[in-house]
C-alpha cells in the first residue's frame, strides 16, 4: 500500500474522467487495485509500479468500452440542469460538457490529455505508459487540447442555435 497510496487519487481521476458512470468507475478502480495486488510479484522495480497500475486501468477501461459502446453523457437530468441557472448547476453543466467533449476525442488524444491534465502525470510517465516518445506525447497533448476546444465550441454553437 505504501507504493499505491501516492498514486490513488491520480488513478481514480484517470478512471472517473473517462468513465461517465460513477458505479462503473468504482468497479474499474477496485478491479484495477485487486488485479495489481494479485500480480504484484510481476513488478520488478518499485518505479515501475505506476506504469503497471495505469496499464491495468487502461486495459480494464478498454475492455468495458468494447463491451458497451460509449454512452452519451446527456441525460434527462442534465437537460434539467441546463434549464437551471444557479452557479453550482452551471459548474456541473460545464463539467459534464467537458466530460462529453473528452469522450468524443479520439482515444490516442484522450488518454494523454486525461493523464496529464487530471491525473497529473508527467510527460515522461505518460510516454512510458502509452509506449510513446516524449515528443509524441507532447504533440498529442497539443492536438487534444485543440480538438477539445473545437468540440466545446461546436457544442456551444449547437446549443445557441
Amino acid at each position: 500500500m505504501s507504493l499505491y497510496s501516492p498514486l490513488h487519487e491520480r488513478l481514480v481521476r484517470f478512471v472517473q474522467t473517462i468513465v461517465w458512470d460513477k458505479e462503473e468507475a468504482r468497479d474499474i478502480v477496485s478491479e484495477t487495485i485487486l488485479a495489481a495486488y494479485e500480480h504484484f510479484e510481476k513488478v520488478k522495480h518499485h518505479e515501475a509500479f505506476l506504469y503497471y497500475l495505469f496499464t491495468i486501468a487502461k486495459r480494464k477501461m478498454n475492455r468495458r468500452y468494447v463491451q458497451q459502446k460509449r454512452q452519451s453523457p446527456w441525460t434527462d437530468e442534465l437537460n434539467d440542469k441546463a434549464e437551471d441557472t444557479s452557479p453550482d448547476a452551471l459548474k456541473q453543466l460545464q463539467i459534464k460538457e467537458l466530460k462529453d467533449a473528452i469522450a468524443h476525442l479520439p482515444e490516442k488524444y484522450r488518454e494523454p490529455l486525461v493523464l496529464f491534465e487530471f491525473s497529473g502525470l508527467t510527460i515522461k510517465e505518460i510516454a512510458e505508459i502509452s509506449n510513446l516518445t516524449e515528443n509524441g506525447v507532447k504533440s498529442r497533448l497539443v492536438r487534444a487540447r485543440q480538438q477539445l476546444s473545437e468540440i466545446l465550441d461546436g457544442s456551444l454553437h449547437e446549443k445557441a442555435s
Partner: protein, 352 residues
C-alpha cells in the same frame, strides 16, 4: 462557455498542467480537478485488506488440508506396516475354525520358558495370596525355599536364568519377607522375554487374540495338538475350551502352563493365580496387596494401611502420586470388575 481556441498561445515545448492558453478551459479543468474522487483511499485499503485476509484464509485451509492428508496417509502406511510386521493370517491351521471373527495378531513359534519358571510365577502368586491371608511368617520360609528350588534349574539353563537366580538371591538376602516378590516383576519380565525354550504343549503354536473393553482377552491356540480357546481377565480364567469341550473351573489347575502363557501373551497383570476361576467372588484385598507388593510400594508380609478413592491413594498415611493412584484404581477395577463408585472408598487396614 466562450470560444477557447487560441492555438498561438500553445507552445509544444512549454506544456503545463491546467494551462491551455484558454482561461475558460483552464477554469473548467480546475473545476474538474476539484470534484471529489469516487473511490476513497480508505475503500482501497479495505479492499486490499479483505483480499489479504481471503488469501491468508484460503492458504490456511489449503495448508490444513495438505497437513491432514499427510497425517492420514502416514497413519495408513504406519498401520499397514504394523500389520505387515505383526500379522499373518492363519490359512492352514484347523484352529482357525475356532474363531473366525478374531483379530489374528500373531503367528509365532511358541517357545515357552521352562516349566520351572512357570511354576515359579504360580508359586510366587500363591505366596502373595497366602501372605494376604495372614500366613505371614510361614510364607517367609516358603518363599525362600521355593526360590532356591527355582534358582537351581534356572542356573543350569541359560545366562538369563542366572540373572533371575541372582535377583532372587540378592533379594532374599536383603529381605527374607519381601525379597522374592520384589524381584518377581523382574523375574516375570525375564520369563516373558525368554520365550526361546520349546514347549511341546504348544506344538503348532498359532495364537489369535482379541481384547475386550472389560479388560479381558480371548485367544485361541493349539494346545497339545488340540484347539484351545481361553478367555482370561486379571482375576484368572473366565472360560477355557479344549477341543470344543468346556473345561470345568475345578480343573483349571491342570492347565497352568496354558493359563500362564495366555497371561504372558496378553500382557494382562494376573492379580491372582493364572488358573483362578475368574467368575468366583474375588478377594480384592489380596489382589490389591499383591499389586502393591509387585509395584514395590510395600514389602511382602508387611503390615500396612491403604485407602483408595477416586481422587487419592493413601498408603501408610502418605499420599501416593497421581499416576500411581490411577494405576491402583485400574487394579481395583480389574479386581472388582467395575470401577470404584463415586464417593466410594476402598480400605485395607486402618490409617493411623
Amino acid at each position: 462557455m466562450k470560444k477557447p481556441v487560441n492555438n498561438d498561445l500553445i507552445n509544444i515545448n512549454d506544456l503545463e498542467k491546467g494551462k491551455t492558453g484558454n482561461a475558460d478551459l483552464d477554469n473548467v479543468f480546475a473545476e474538474m480537478n476539484n470534484t471529489p474522487i469516487v473511490f476513497s483511499k480508505e475503500e482501497a485499503l479495505h479492499l486490499v485488506e479483505n483480499a489479504i485476509v481471503n488469501d491468508v484464509t484460503s492458504s490456511a485451509i489449503k495448508n490444513t488440508i495438505i497437513l491432514g492428508g499427510a497425517v492420514l496417509v502416514s497413519a495408513i502406511f504406519g498401520w499397514m506396516y504394523y500389520q505387515y510386521n505383526s500379522t499373518q493370517i492363519v490359512s492352514t491351521n484347523p484352529s482357525a475354525l475356532l474363531e473366525n471373527k478374531m483379530v489374528i495378531i500373531e503367528k509365532n513359534k511358541l517357545k515357552l520358558s521352562s516349566t520351572d519358571k512357570d511354576s515359579y510365577v504360580a508359586i510366587a502368586e500363591e505366596n502373595i495370596n497366602s501372605r494376604n491371608n495372614n500366613s505371614g511368617s510361614n510364607s517367609n520360609s516358603n518363599t525362600a525355599n521355593t526360590s532356591e528350588e527355582i534358582i537351581n534349574p534356572a542356573l543350569n539353563n541359560n545366562n538369563s536364568a542366572k540373572k533371575v537366580g541372582n535377583n532372587l538371591n540378592s533379594n532374599k538376602n536383603a529381605s527374607t519377607v519381601g525379597g522374592l516378590n520384589t524381584s518377581e516383576k523382574i523375574s516375570n519380565q525375564q520369563l516373558n522375554d525368554d520365550s526361546k525354550k520349546s514347549n511341546s504343549n504348544f506344538s503348532k503354536t498359532i495364537i489369535t487374540q482379541r481384547y475386550f473393553d472389560d479388560g479381558s482377552a480371548k485367544m485361541t491356540l493349539e494346545y497339545k495338538n488340540q484347539p484351545a480357546r481361553i478367555t482370561i481377565n486379571s482375576r484368572g480364567i473366565e472360560s477355557l475350551i479344549i477341543n470344543e469341550e468346556e473345561v470345568d473351573p475345578s480343573n483349571y489347575y491342570l492347565y497352568d502352563d496354558l493359563a500362564t502363557e495366555a497371561f504372558r501373551r496378553s500382557k494382562i497383570e494376573p492379580l491372582a493365580l493364572p488358573t483362578n476361576d475368574a467368575n468366583t467372588k474375588p478377594n480384592i484385598s489380596a489382589m490389591m496387596t499383591g499389586a502393591l507388593v509387585r509395584r514395590g510400594l510395600i514389602k511382602n508380609g508387611e503390615k500396612f494401611s491403604f485407602e483408595l478413592t477416586a481422587s487419592t491413594a493413601i498408603l501408610n498415611n502418605t499420599n501416593l502420586k497421581s499416576d500411581v493412584q490411577k494405576d491402583l484404581l485400574q487394579v481395583y477395577q480389574n479386581a472388582f470388575g467395575s470401577s470404584l463408585p463415586r464417593g466410594g472408598k476402598f480400605i485395607i487396614g486402618k490409617q493411623q
